[in-house]
Symmetry: C2
DNA sequence: GCAGTATAGGACACTCCTGTCTCATTTTGC
DNA sequence: GCAAAATGAGACAGGAGTGTCCTATACTGC
């Protein structure tokens, strides 16, 4: 689990983290949740919350940064420059599943802020998919933007599948297999790094 | 376009429909939008809105019913009992794309209301997929619930793809092709009803 | 054209959320 | 154990949304 993020075990940062975690977990469902409920969720008095984040916008900005860091950390861990591009995409997706609330936040932020078409596209991921076109592990007939959309959609599916009562492990396996199906070129066989002895839906 | 739904051209029902359309289009983005903004969006005074729906909950209930009807109408039009099950799933998905706001609403409602696992599963769709397992057009290795999740996810992807500036036609095509990739059994070739001369990503 | 109906616009009290205070209590670091 | 720091609990005014009401205006069917 990636939980002790910036956990400099001092009280201040523990409280701050508790508030941010509560905020992100609550705001992904309803962005207009009252600060009172955020504080309650964090196990903290509303006055304390205001001490850390004087105005609502301060909290929102902090959550923005917090989520961005969280997602970037996962992206780094996915080593998207290593191995076949298609497998890197799968690793990235499974990683995203771990910090879905932050990913969701980032995604919504990008949508809300960016009025330009496809501003939500991430440069690093766009390049990763380009690499996949070249190394032959991603079907070049599928537009880059569409692959990004469907990757996020699969992660969301998996997260929702977990929420519906299924195991995280099963959801991750299904998510992996589905993404491979979506992006693998028609003629391509199972990528080398994957143990092909396992049935995709084991 | 499916627009003149219950359009009994009388003024009352036209106003009512305008309010409901405005409500659903606004609430899918932010469930807590003020009634003033809903009224403004509908081109109607707030007092008029209150005349039709005295309390906020009345409007919410009406939207719930309105969305449900809209989705059911699309489902009927998709003729899910005809032809290969996989193609029926594709037809259903493309239909859902037409009334995405209503589908989204239904989905969120089911999630919010249902605390039981998988309550969001729809009986008719569950049976459709079961039929697909039997007629060999849907991979029986993929769990029924997962197929439903991914189908919704693909429709969402397509809708978001459109919102990002791409054409509705392209989004629908990509959605179709992706769903086929996801659910078709490994050994299965292009289903009979589809013109196999077209490249899936034309 | 006329009576009946529907609407726009605004006033009003009420509730909830917000941001700012203050003060007592608890926890930390030494 | 003690001083400093952090927290909890509550008061308070201002703002926004809600629900109810009323009146003048625009529209409908006959």
């Amino acid at each position: 689990m990636i939980d002790d993020l910036t956990a400099t075990s001092t009280l201040r940062s523990r409280t701050r983290n508790a508030i941010l975690e509560a905020a992100i977990s609550v705001f992904v469902n309803d962005r207009s949740t009252s600060l009172g409920k955020v504080a309650e969720r964090a196990g903290v008095a509303r006055s304390t919350l205001h001490r850390y984040f004087p105005e609502r916008s301060d909290l929102l900005n902090a959550v923005r940064e917090y989520a961005r860091d969280k997602v970037e950390r996962i992206r780094d861990a996915a080593r998207i420059h290593e191995g076949p591009a298609s497998e890197a995409v799968v690793r990235l997706a499974v990683g995203y599943l771990e910090v879905w609330d932050a990913v969701m936040w980032d995604y919504m932020e990008a949508e809300a802020a960016g009025e330009n078409p496809d501003e939500s596209e991430d440069v690093a991921i766009t390049q990763l998919i380009e690499r996949g076109y070249k190394d032959g592990t991603i079907d070049p007939a599928i537009p880059n933007a569409w692959i990004q959309h469907t990757m996020y959609a699969m992660v969301y599916s998996a997260w929702d599948y977990i929420r519906a009562g299924h195991s995280r492990h099963e959801a991750a396996k299904l998510c992996e297999a589905s993404i491979r199906k979506l992006i693998t070129p028609p003629s391509h066989v199972t990528p080398p790094t994957t143990r092909s002895s396992d049935h995709p839906f084991g």
